[in-house]
């Protein structure tokens, strides 16, 4: 009997803890969203973060995009050539990249590269009392430290995604046209004819913006809410990657269903 009660109590306590975390994360989100006005007056704060979050991720994203495009070119060619439809290879590569692989894979790589770094940075700032130090100088760490990083992350993601997709299309071209003998003019012409701006490109950009918000928010929240110890920071960093990956894949399904469902 008491074992049942204990189990119920543990369940309740766990539930309350989860609700509390959701509440704190939401408050953080509102505070960061409200901080946009101040950043418009001090854009330098965001620019400095764009370097660490965006620019330093460029190489990883570029190389990954190229390889993913090359694999798409290979696999696409083998399947399409069974139906003598190699000419549509360009569309297949570009559509998969712009609609799905670009936003999703970029977001996953972003969570591993930039998200984990953000969590560790903020978490260590908390553990070494730098955030309390700011508070004591009457400086709000959310506005001064977290918000610029948030917008830098949100802005970086669509740009990185665009780069990933563009290099992916090039990778597909190298393999399909360069190695496997698809006609180069057809490759580009098909892409131009079949990739729709609002249907494909805009939807891809919307996805990448949503992923940018979610991944950066998760990373910053995990850092800000970390236990101020080395173990706490290490666990938060792991959680950033896991939560971001799950959120991106889950949201991608929902967004795809909404955008391309009918």
């Amino acid at each position: 009997m008491s074992a049942v009660l204990d189990a119920l109590a543990a369940l309740g306590a766990g539930g309350i803890a989860v609700l509390r975390r959701i509440g704190r994360a939401s408050l953080l989100f509102v505070a960061m969203a409200a901080g946009v006005g101040e950043l418009l007056r001090k854009p330098g704060l965001v620019v400095a973060q764009l370097y660490g979050i965006g620019v330093l991720s460029v190489l990883l994203i570029a190389v990954a995009g190229l390889f993913v495009g090359m694999v798409l070119g290979l696999q696409g060619f083998y399947i399409l050539s069974q139906f003598s439809a190699e000419a549509t290879l360009g569309v297949m590569v570009a559509a998969s990249l712009v609609r799905e692989l670009g936003p999703v894979v970029t977001a996953l790589l972003f969570a591993g590269r930039a998200g984990s770094a953000l969590t560790a940075e903020i978490g260590l700032m908390k553990a070494t009392e730098q955030l309390s130090g700011l508070e004591m100088m009457a400086v709000d760490p959310v506005r001064r430290v977290l918000t610029p990083r948030f917008y830098a992350g949100v802005l970086s993601m669509p740009l990185l995604t665009a780069m990933f997709s563009a290099l992916g299309v090039l990778g597909g071209y190298f393999v399909g046209v360069g190695l496997l003998g698809v006609d180069g003019g057809t490759y580009w012409a098909q892409i131009e004819a079949k990739i729709d701006f609002s249907e494909d490109i805009v939807n891809g950009v919307i996805k990448s913006l949503v992923f940018g918000v979610v991944c950066t928010w998760i990373a910053l929240y995990q850092g800000y809410d970390t236990l101020p110890t080395s173990e706490g920071v290490s666990r938060s960093t792991t959680r950033t990657v896991v939560h971001s990956a799950l959120a991106v894949l889950g949201l991608d399904f929902i967004l795809t269903a909404l955008m391309f469902g009918n």
Binding site: E129, Q130, G133, M136, M137, A138
Partner: protein, 271 residues
């Protein structure tokens, strides 16, 4: 003295605070008088850092009030609290310097945040503050290149950058060699007297702190054990105060964090 008649700058009443089930403060009263150096002492882990965090509004008490300059710190909203903190400096036990900025920029940080002074004026102010702590030559070093003692002196320069009315020092002397220790003691006392600051010093260095303090509070087990002038305290007959202030190994002060008897634990009792 006239200022002893004026109301205290910090008035703590019936302060209770708990961490989990562990009671840190169990109803303590403190008065920090204006223009004085007040030292707070107590064994490690009694909650001296916690007290400073309660006074500066970083932590919320379970019960009781903290008034600074007549306003209840814990009734203030965020903006009010920040306004109050602009007039307060705090030296963290760990230094808490921003690791991505060099020493100069760390000290300049609060000035840049809260004022619109031009660059040459900021430069002059920062160099004066760094000179005061003897680290003007280290202005371009990064915090990772400083020793613990140096980092704490930079943090002190930053704490006084905005010329606050009150400074909270958490263990300012740890990690200082005898020379910088002497300089720091002089600096704390000198700052206090030159601009009629109010200082709260938390420290274990009994002799040195007693030298510059006007008033001494000894806290332990969540209570104020005794308070008064350093001379009176040093002469105190209270066995507890005697043991603590004179560092005697035997007496009523426990060295151990509360625990069951060692023999019980070694024999596996209670598991």
């Amino acid at each position: 003295m006239p200022e002893s008649e004026s109301p205290p700058l910090v008035r703590v009443r019936g302060l209770c605070f708990r961490r989990g089930s562990r009671v840190i403060f169990d109803g303590i009263d403190l008065d920090i008088r204006r223009g004085r150096v007040t030292a707070v002492m107590g064994p490690s882990g009694t909650g001296k850092t916690t007290l400073l965090k309660l006074i500066s509004g970083q932590l919320r008490p379970d019960r009781g009030t903290v008034e600074v300059d007549g306003v209840d710190v814990h009734a203030l909203d965020r903006a009010g609290l920040y306004r109050l903190r602009m007039r307060m400096g705090m030296l963290f036990q760990s230094g808490a310097l921003l690791t991505d900025l060099d020493v100069f920029e760390n000290v300049a940080y609060p000035i840049r945040e809260h004022t619109r002074l031009n660059e040459s004026l900021i430069r002059r102010l920062v160099l004066i503050k760094l000179e005061a702590v003897g680290l003007r030559g280290a202005a371009r070093l990064m915090p990772s290149q400083l020793s613990g003692g140096m980092a704490r002196r930079v943090a002190l320069a930053r704490a006084i950058a905005m010329d606050p009315m009150m400074i909270l020092y958490d263990e300012p002397f740890t990690g200082q060699d005898p020379i910088s220790m002497g300089a720091l003691l002089k600096l704390i006392r000198g700052l206090n007297d030159a601009v009629r600051l109010t200082s709260i010093v938390v420290s274990h260095d009994v002799r040195e702190t007693a030298e510059i303090a006007d008033e001494l509070y000894v806290i332990s087990n969540g209570k104020v054990v005794q308070h008064g002038s350093p001379e009176a305290m040093m002469r105190s007959d209270d066995p507890w105060v005697r043991q603590f202030l004179h560092g005697l190994p035997d007496g009523p002060v426990p060295f151990h964090y509360p625990a069951p008897p060692l023999a019980d634990e070694l024999l596996g009792a209670g598991t």
